[in-house]
C-alpha cells in the first residue's frame, strides 16, 4: 500500500479506530464548543448564531478606484473589508519617492496622506463595517490615519472595529515588508497595541500570522508553532511594559491558511486552539476567558493554486472554504483563481465571494458546530498535530526563541529549506498536483491563458502624484513640521509613538515623512541573508 504522509510529516494510517484515540480525555482535551480549551471552537453555537465574516483582500491603484471596488463587493454581500496597500505604502515611501517607481498602486492601493484614507473610506460607515488593514512596518501611521478618518466621520472611538495586521515578526520571517531593525520594529508593534487597548477597545491591534510563513514554505505544524511563538513574544512584550495580560489579550487575533489536506487543516486549528488556550491560561495566567480564545481569519493560500488550467483553482478554493468552515473560522478570505497571473479581476473576486457564500448557505458545513469532532481520524490527527506543533515550538526555543531566531536568520533559513523540500516533492510527484505533476493536460501552459487579466492603469501613478502635490500645497506647513519634529523626538525617547503620529497624520504629514522621521532615529534593518 502507498505510504501517505501529512504535510506535517507524520504518516497517515489507512484506517483509524477507538485504539487511536485511547489517550484522549474528553473533558481535558476536547470539551464543549465555547468552553476551555476550545478545541471545538470558541463559540457555543458557532455559525448558527453568527456566520463567519467574509473579507476579501482588496486594494489597487488609487484610493478612489479601491473605494469603488469596496462598494462593488459590499453590494454583493461582502460584510467587511481587508485593505491591500501598495509596496511603497507598506515600506513608508511616498508615491514620488524614486524607489517607488513602477510600484505605485501596483500590488495594492497607494496611500500618501490622510487625504487618501479619507477617499478610500468615503461613503463607507466605519461604525458598521469592520476593516482589516494589511499593514505591518507602517501599521502605526496607517492605523492612526484610519482612526482619524473614523473620527472625522463622527464615529466614537469605542465603535471603531479595525484589525491592523501589525505583525512585524512574520514580516522578517516571510513577507519582507520590514523597515527598521528588530527592536524598534517591536516597539512600534507594542505602541499600537497599547494605544489601541487604551483608546479603541474594539480594535484588534495585532493579527498574528502563520499564513505568510506557510506561503513561504513551512509545514502545517510549523505554521501553527511559529504563529503561537510570535503571539507569545507579543504577550511578553506587553507584559514587560507593565500591562496586565487581560488588558490586551482578548483583542489578539490570528491569520492562518487552510489549504492542503482538509482533515489535517481542521486538526491543525483544533490543536492550535487547545495549545493557545493552555498557553494563555497556564503560562501567562490570563483569567478572562476571552484572553484564551484563538480567534482566526482562515483562508488564503495562493500557493495552493496553480498556473496551469487556472479555472481548476475555483475548485481548490471551494475545498479551502470547506476546510476553513470545518475548522471553525471567525473570518474567511479566499485567493482568487487568477492569483497566479495577476491581481484579482472583479469577476474572480466575485467567484471567491460566491464560493464562501455557497459553502455557508448551501453545503450544510455551517449547520452544526465542529462537525468532525469524535471522528477517530480527526481526534487522532488533532493529537498528532498537537504533538508535532509542540516539537516545533521546542525547536524554536533551541534557536534562542522566535525573536532571536529572526535576528540570526535561523528561522528564515528553515522556512527556505522547507520550501525547497516541498518543491522537490512536487518534482518527484510525492505531493500530487493535478494538471501540474499528474493528469497533465495537453494544452501548453502558454496557450492556456484565457484568464481575464487586471489591466494595470499607468495613469493611476500620475493621479496619485497630483493628489500628493495638492495635499502638500494645501496643508499648514508649519503645523506639519512641528508634528514631525515631535515624532522624531518621541522616537529618540521611550514614550508611546502613537500620540505624536496621530498628530502628524492629522496635520497631513505624508507617510514617507513620518517613516523618515523614525528612520533617522532607528536606522534600517540589515537582513541576515541565508538560504
Amino acid at each position: 500500500m502507498k505510504e501517505i504522509k501529512a504535510h506535517a510529516g507524520f504518516p497517515i494510517a489507512p484506517v483509524y479506530g477507538p485504539e487511536d484515540v485511547a489517550g484522549v480525555e474528553f473533558d481535558r482535551d476536547i470539551g464543549r464548543p465555547g468552553e476551555y480549551p476550545y478545541t471545538r471552537g470558541i463559540h457555543k453555537h458557532m455559525y448558527r448564531e453568527r456566520l463567519w465574516t467574509m473579507r476579501q483582500y482588496v486594494g489597487f491603484g488609487t484610493p478612489v478606484e479601491t473605494n469603488a471596488r469596496f462598494k462593488y463587493l459590499m453590494a454583493h454581500g461582502q460584510d467587511a473589508l481587508n485593505v491591500a496597500f501598495d509596496l511603497p505604502t507598506q515600506l513608508g515611501l511616498d508615491s514620488d519617492d524614486p524607489k517607488a517607481e513602477g510600484e505605485v498602486g501596483r500590488a495594492g492601493m497607494a496611500v500618501d496622506t490622510l487625504a487618501d484614507m479619507e477617499d478610500a473610506f468615503a461613503g463607507i460607515p466605519l461604525d458598521r463595517v469592520s476593516v482589516s488593514l494589511t499593514i505591518n512596518g507602517m501599521a502605526a501611521p496607517i492605523t492612526a490615519m484610519y482612526y482619524a478618518v473614523a473620527e472625522k466621520q463622527g464615529v466614537a472611538a469605542d465603535r471603531v472595529v479595525t484589525t491592523p495586521q501589525n505583525d512585524i515578526l512574520k514580516e522578517f520571517i516571510a513577507r519582507g515588508t520590514w523597515i527598521y531593525p528588530v527592536d524598534p520594529s517591536l516597539r512600534l508593534v507594542a505602541d499600537l497595541i497599547e494605544f489601541s487597548a487604551r483608546h479603541y477597545p474594539r480594535s484588534n491591534p495585532v493579527s498574528v500570522c502563520g499564513y505568510h510563513i506557510r506561503e513561504a514554505g513551512c509545514t502545517t505544524a510549523q505554521e501553527m508553532a511559529y504563529g503561537l511563538a510570535i503571539a507569545a513574544a507579543y504577550v511578553e512584550l506587553m507584559l514587560a511594559r507593565g500591562m496586565a495580560v487581560d488588558e490586551f489579550a482578548p483583542r489578539i487575533s490570528f491569520n492562518f491558511t487552510a489549504w492542503g489536506k482538509i482533515f489535517e487543516e481542521v486538526a491543525k486549528f483544533r490543536a492550535g486552539r487547545r495549545l493557545y488556550a493552555r498557553m494563555l491560561r497556564e503560562r501567562f495566567r490570563a483569567v478572562n476567558p476571552k484572553s484564551w480564545m484563538f480567534r482566526s481569519l482562515i483562508g488564503g493560500g495562493g500557493s495552493a493554486f496553480a498556473m496551469q488550467e487556472p479555472e481548476n483553482n475555483i475548485v481548490r478554493g471551494a475545498y479551502i472554504a470547506l476546510a476553513a468552515s470545518l475548522a471553525g473560522a471567525q473570518t474567511m478570505a479566499l485567493p482568487t483563481y487568477d492569483e497566479a497571473y495577476t491581481i484579482p479581476s472583479p469577476k474572480a473576486q466575485l467567484i471567491a465571494l460566491r464560493t464562501m457564500q455557497i459553502c455557508a448557505e448551501e453545503s450544510g458545513a455551517a449547520d452544526t458546530v465542529d462537525p468532525l469532532a469524535g471522528s477517530y481520524y480527526v481526534e487522532a490527527l488533532t493529537s498528532a498535530m498537537e504533538k508535532r506543533i509542540e516539537e516545533e515550538l521546542a525547536s524554536v526555543e533551541r534557536m534562542g526563541g522566535i525573536v532571536e531566531a529572526v535576528r540570526t536568520g535561523a528561522i528564515q533559513a528553515e522556512v527556505a529549506r522547507q520550501a525547497y523540500l516541498y518543491e522537490q516533492k512536487i518534482v518527484s510527484g510525492e505531493i500530487p498536483r493535478v494538471a501540474v505533476n499528474c493528469h497533465v493536460g495537453d494544452v501548453p501552459v502558454e496557450a492556456d491563458r484565457d484568464v481575464e487579466l487586471y489591466a494595470f492603469d499607468p495613469t493611476a501613478h500620475a493621479a496619485q502624484l497630483a493628489r500628493l502635490e495638492r495635499t502638500r500645497a494645501q496643508r499648514d506647513g508649519g503645523a506639519t513640521r512641528t508634528a514631525l519634529r515631535r515624532v522624531a523626538q518621541a522616537a529618540r525617547g521611550s514614550e508611546n509613538l502613537m500620540d505624536p503620529i496621530m498628530e502628524a497624520v492629522k496635520a497631513y504629514a505624508t507617510l514617507g515623512e513620518i517613516a523618515q522621521a523614525m528612520r533617522d532615529v532607528f536606522g534600517e534593518h540589515k537582513e541576515a541573508v541565508k538560504f
Binding site: L87, A100, E103, M307, E423
Partner: protein, 130 residues
C-alpha cells in the same frame, strides 16, 4: 558558472528566489543571493563585483518590465552586457516577449518546473545571445 539571484524592487516574496538558488547550488553552480529590496544599481554593482555569468531577477510585484530594463541597461552602461539577465516570477504571458525585447535572455514565468530552470542554466540557454 556563477549566478547572482537577485530581488530588485520592493517586493518581499523570496520563496521562489531561494528555491531556485538552492536548486542551482545543488546542481553545482556557484550561487550568490542578494537578499530583498535591492536597487537595480546595487544588483549591477554586485554582478560585476562577484564576476557572475548570469543574473537571475525574481519579481512578483508586477514591476518586472521597469526593473529588468534598469538592470539590463545598467550592465550595458558598465560595459558588462556579457553578463546575461534572466527573469522569473509572476510574469504574465503578454510580457514575456517584451522582456526579451529589452535584452532579457530567458523568462521563467510562475509555474515553470524547477528541473526546467536548472536545465536551462545547464544547457547555457540563459547565456545564449539573442
Amino acid at each position: 558558472m556563477k549566478v547572482l539571484i537577485a530581488k530588485p524592487g520592493l517586493d518581499g516574496h523570496d520563496r521562489g528566489a531561494k528555491v531556485v538558488a538552492h536548486a542551482l547550488r545543488d546542481a553545482g553552480f556557484e550561487v550568490v543571493y542578494s537578499g530583498l529590496k535591492r536597487t537595480p544599481d546595487e544588483i549591477v554593482r554586485a554582478a560585476i563585483q562577484e564576476d557572475v555569468d548570469v543574473v537571475g531577477l525574481s519579481v512578483l510585484s508586477g514591476a518586472h518590465l521597469l526593473l529588468a530594463r534598469r538592470v539590463v541597461d545598467g550592465l550595458r552602461a558598465q560595459d558588462a552586457s556579457d553578463i546575461a539577465v534572466v527573469v522569473g516570477g509572476i510574469i504574465p504571458p503578454r510580457d514575456v516577449e517584451a522582456l526579451k525585447q529589452l535584452g532579457v535572455r530567458h523568462v521563467f514565468p510562475m509555474g515553470t518546473p524547477l528541473p526546467e530552470i536548472v536545465k536551462a542554466f545547464r544547457q547555457g540557454q540563459t547565456k545564449e545571445p539573442r
